[in-house]
């Protein structure tokens, strides 16, 4: 119908024209890039650690540990001989943050496997783990050499195993590694959550604007309230798809040049956890399908919230239950990433309110049977129809109401009466 089309066009054009949209279009990739960067930094405990190795050994163990630590991108180490006031002065340096910490190595390290680390942050697991591994490597090599094993044999024996992981999808082995699947799932989760929330709230404020300015009276005397709500949701939905297109293109460019960008920070592609996955057509389709499903479901609720509120302030409060549904789905993503096939994950991908995030995350993280997707989509569509039906009734009554926000009992009456 022409009038619905006019509503869609107005929503789309006015939003595309706003500075806000272009700020999001440009800052979006930066924002997601920042999330990417922070995740990798948090994963490794944040930057290069400056540490001092206090060498109280009689043999070469301390020197070898220092050398090996310097071979790692995580540490910058210097060795000092143990002495009367060394520990006190180093403690002071850690206190002044000139130093991350210091390692005290004695002969006991080789004999009984004991060493001591004193630092400002001893709960940084990545740092401690790396230290332990380094000391362990040196100590076990020294022990073997003591028993008369050829150092070259020791070196060969210590070549680590690299487990290559490939995802099986649709009966074929894909080129995707576990790390790629993980980062894809992670990103899809973040983007879905952000976009559904953002555009849902867009629908809400648009509804609220028409309500508070009373334009809605003129509109509703020209087209049915449901048509108006539909046009609005479609218009904002079209804006979000357009936004994705912009993000998609700029993300591609950003990823293509990531080596230049990250390389400048001395990181290269040292970290295997976050890698650029191949986004297949099927993955893109799942993403868009569930995004749209989630967007329709949530924006119907946000529209109802807008219609029942009389001011921005009231709306902000009233939208909290709706936002929390989305936040919970987002948080549960982290549990799902560990085991995408668990009962917990399957349940969440069938509940319509969490499915829009859960399903694409599981899809990206692991393989999914077609019937599960079909079932989840069927439930989602049914929920969209049901929720929209209820929301449209709240919308219709709420748009003409002013004054106090309705309580639950009144809402039920609105739904019945409309």
């Amino acid at each position: 119908m022409r009038k619905i089309w006019a509503v869609v066009r107005r929503e789309f054009v006015e939003r595309i024209r706003s500075k806000w949209f272009w700020a999001m279009a440009l800052l979006g990739p930066l924002f997601f890039g920042a999330v990417f960067f922070l995740s990798t930094q948090l994963g490794r405990g944040g930057g290069v650690k400056r540490i001092v190795v206090v060498d109280a050994t009689t043999g070469p163990v301390g020197a070898r540990i220092t050398q090996l630590l310097n071979g790692s991108p995580l540490f910058r180490a210097v060795s000092v001989p143990a002495g009367g006031e060394v520990v006190d002065s180093l403690t002071a340096e850690v206190e002044h943050k000139a130093l991350s910490g210091f390692l005290i190595v004695t002969d006991a390290a080789v004999d009984s496997g004991k060493a001591e680390y004193r630092g400002s942050n001893v709960s940084a697991f990545a740092t401690i783990g790396a230290l332990e591994r380094t000391i362990g490597d040196v100590v076990s090599a020294v022990r073997l050499e003591r028993e008369g094993v050829d150092p070259r044999v020791v070196a060969r024996a210590r070549i680590p195993v690299r487990l290559e992981t490939k995802k099986i999808a649709g009966g074929k082995t894909t080129g995707e590694t576990a790390a790629q699947s993980f980062s894809l799932a992670y990103f899809m989760g973040i983007i879905l959550y952000t976009a559904i929330l953002l555009y849902g709230i867009n629908v809400m404020s648009s509804v609220l604007e028409e309500k508070t300015t009373r334009i809605v009276e003129v509109l509703v005397s020209s087209l049915r309230p449901f048509q108006l709500m539909l046009g609005k949701v479609l218009g904002v939905g079209a804006v979000s798809i357009f936004q994705f297109l912009i993000w998609g293109v700029s993300a591609r460019i950003l990823f293509a040049h990531r080596r230049d960008l990250l390389g400048a920070g001395g990181m290269g592609d040292a970290d295997p956890v976050f890698q650029v996955p191949n986004v297949s057509g099927a993955t893109a389709a799942i993403f868009i399908t569930y995004f749209l499903g989630g967007f329709f479901l949530y924006s119907a609720m946000f529209a109802a919230v807008g219609a029942m509120s009389s001011s921005e302030q009231e709306a902000r409060q009233a939208q909290q239950p709706v936002s929390w549904l989305l936040v919970l789905s987002f948080l549960s993503m982290f549990g799902m990433l560990n085991d995408p096939a668990s009962t917990f994950a399957v349940t969440l991908s069938l509940i319509p309110f969490s499915a829009p995030i859960a399903m694409p995350v599981r899809w990206a993280a692991g393989n999914l049977p077609t019937h599960e997707i079909a079932l989840s989509l069927t439930i989602l569509v049914a929920a969209i129809v049901g929720v929209t039906w209820v929301a449209a009734r709240i919308y219709r009554v709420g748009m003409l109401m002013t004054g106090k926000r309705p309580n639950l009992k009144e809402l039920v009456r609105w739904v019945r009466a409309a």
Partner: protein, 317 residues
Amino acid sequence: MMSPAPILVLDRVSKRFAGHTAVDDLSLSVPAGVIYGLLGPNGAGKTTTIRMIMDILQPDGGTVRLFGEPGGGRTHSERIGYLPEERGLYRKMRVLDVLVFLGEMKGVDRRRARQRAGEWLERLGLADWRLRRIDELSKGMQQKVQFISTMLHDPDLVILDEPFSGLDPVNAQVMKDTVLDLRSRGKTILFSTHIMEQAERLCEQLCIIARGRKLVDGPLSDIKRTHGGHHLVIGFDGSVGGAAQVFADKRLTSKVDNYGQYAELELAAGVDAQRILHALVASGARLSRFEMREASLHKIFIDLVGPEAARTEGEPT
């Protein structure tokens, strides 16, 4: 005289909200080509009635017919201009874009809407503002933009809810001129107001409601005749002639207060004052003054509604 076919008919329309009846069994008929007033104190049900005509609210009982066809305001929205009591526009949109959009809502295609909006903006002196955002306009300018949005699609029926409330004097004049201009082009105007003086000057027909019920409706002159009584003030210039006989004629007058050179009388029901003038002149009286004095609509309104109800009540919505 044949009255033209009604353009709007309400037949026993009712609307109840939780706890109270906003409109109760209201019937009225608006002929084509008149200025029709829907009068009543605040909270009488005027806005609710208009919203039911516009299909914004569904009546709980009764029917609304427009242009002699079934279907309410939404079905006929192409032919109706509606200005709600509380007004607002999209604050961030450009003037021209708002008008084009609202025109589209009334079924005008974009190109025509753009052209007509341009003409109207020109006419109301806003041509230079067409590409500015609504929130850059003064309140008075915004009100003008709102009129334009109501008239853009050249509606046959214009429904204005308290059109003069909140207008500055300049815009009140623009509004009045617009209403009269529409009337002269054969359009029908229905407007609601609680200000009787306004209604008295503009309306040809009206309906007075209070507490959701109709008290009286019909042409203003009929209402004045039946409810106001007709008051005649006569001054003599020396010769009274046979005035006493004329005054005593119970077919002509119902009440006389004669001071000799000055008299006040009330006409008998259905009597045309011209007959008395004629009779007086024929009897040889010389008149210095002959003045019909009608009760004001305000007085009729107070008499009908009662001073209690005439006082402002809170709107139900």
